[in-house]
Symmetry: C2
Subunit: 195 residues, 2 copies
DNA sequence: TTGAAATTCAACACTATGTCCATAAAAATA
DNA sequence: TATTTTTATGGACATAGTGTTGAATTTCAA
C-alpha cells in the first residue's frame, strides 16, 4: 500500500530553486528569451534534472501560475461568501479587490513578474475571472459589444495600475488602491476634479 | 557630388520583405522567440543579407516602430494645431484620438502587432506621449502619485480597448471608439447605466 | 555597357536543445 | 541500521540557430 506518497524533499528543493530562478530571470526578460541552461545555472540544478520535471521554461511558468491561481482562489472564496448575499451578480466588491491586492503585496516579486509583459500567458484575465469581476452595472442599457469593450478597458486599466503599484514598492495600502480602482472604474477621472 | 543617394530598389525590397515577415511572425509569437532564420526563410531573403541591414530581430522591430511613430506624429501635428488653441494643456481631444484610431485601422495588421504582448518595446507609452495625453483635468485636487496612477489606468485601458477593436476587425467607426474611450476615461462605467 | 553595390552561397566556430545512460547521492522503508 | 527505491548528476550525442567571413553572382544606376 502506498497511501499518497509524500513529496520527496529533493524534488521539493529542485522545484523551489527553479521557481525562484525563473522569477528572478523574468524580472529582466521575456519568458521566451530565457534558456533552460541559464535557469539551471542560476538555480544550481543539473540540466538533466530540469527535464525530469518540466518540458521547457513555459511548462515551469504555467505550473507556477496554476499554483498561484489556486491559492488566491481559496483566499477569495471566504471573502466572497460574505458579499455574495449583497451582490449576487454585481460589480466587484471593495473587499475582494482589497484581498487580491493584499495577496499581491505578500508575493510582490512573483506578482510583478506574472503581471508583467515578460509573462506570455493570459494570466491577468484568469485573475479577474477568478475575482468574478463584473464591471458593468446590471441595469445597463448598452449592447454586448460595448459591454465587452468596457470590461476590457477596466480590467487592463486595473492591472496596469496594480503593476505600477507593485513596481514602486506598494507604498499605499491595498484598501486605498482598491478604492482608487473602483472609483476610476465607475466614475472616471472627473470624479477627482476639484469642485 | 552625391545629392542624397536614392535608395536602391534591392535594398527597399529586402527591407519590405523582412518587415512583412516580421509582422506575420509576430502575430503568432513574441519577438524574442522569433529566429533570424525563420524571418529570412519567410521573406525569402538570405540570412547574410539580413545581417547586412539589421543587428537582430529587435533592431528590425525598433526601426519599424520608429517609422510608425514618425508617420503618425506628422499626421497628428496638423490636427493638434487646430485644438491647441482650445486646450493648450488639457485632456486629449476627440479629434486626436479619432485620428490615431483611423491611422491604426489603415495599418491594422501592423498596429495589432505593435500593440500586442508579442511586442517587447514600450511602444504604447510612446504613442500616448505622442498624442500628448493629459488624462487629468488641470484643476484636479489630487497629488502627483494619484495622478500617475490614473494616467496609467487610462492609457492602458485605452490601448487594450484599441487592441480588441483591431482584433475583431474594426467594426465600429474610429470616431465611435474614440468617443467611448473618452467617456470611460472621464465619467466611468456608471455613465452607461440606464437612468 | 560598365563600374558599383547588393545579394547569394558555402563554410566556420560557437552555443543551446532535448535525450540518453551510467553513476552517485539521498530518501524512504523494512 | 541496512536495503531498496527514487532522485540528481555528469558526460555524450545529434540537431539547430547564431553571427561572421570571403568569394561568386546578380542587379542596379549612370
Amino acid at each position: 500500500m502506498t497511501p499518497q506518497r509524500k513529496t520527496d524533499r529533493r524534488v521539493a528543493y529542485t522545484k523551489l530553486a527553479l521557481r525562484e530562478a525563473l522569477v528572478e530571470l523574468m524580472q529582466g526578460q521575456h519568458i521566451s528569451g530565457i534558456t533552460v541552461k541559464s535557469l539551471c545555472e542560476l538555480a544550481d540544478i543539473n540540466r538533466s534534472t530540469f527535464y525530469l520535471h518540466y518540458r521547457d521554461q513555459y511548462d515551469l511558468l504555467h505550473q507556477i501560475e496554476r499554483e498561484v491561481l489556486e491559492t488566491l482562489g481559496e483566499r477569495l472564496a471566504s471573502k466572497q461568501d460574505a458579499t455574495d448575499e449583497m451582490f449576487s451578480k454585481g460589480p466587484i466588491s471593495l473587499e475582494v479587490m482589497t484581498e487580491i491586492l493584499e495577496y499581491a503585496r505578500e508575493n510582490a516579486a512573483l506578482a510583478r513578474v506574472l503581471l508583467s509583459e515578460n509573462c506570455d500567458f493570459a494570466f491577468q484575465q484568469d485573475i479577474m475571472e477568478l475575482a468574478q469581476v463584473v464591471v458593468i452595472l446590471p441595469d445597463s442599457s448598452i449592447n454586448q459589444r460595448m459591454e465587452d469593450y468596457i470590461v476590457t478597458y477596466g480590467i487592463n486599466g486595473c492591472i496596469a495600475l496594480a503593476e505600477k503599484w507593485l513596481d514602486e514598492g506598494t507604498i499605499e495600502e491595498p484598501a486605498q488602491v482598491a478604492q482608487l480602482m473602483l472609483q476610476l472604474l465607475y466614475f472616471g477621472t472627473t470624479s477627482f476634479t476639484k469642485g
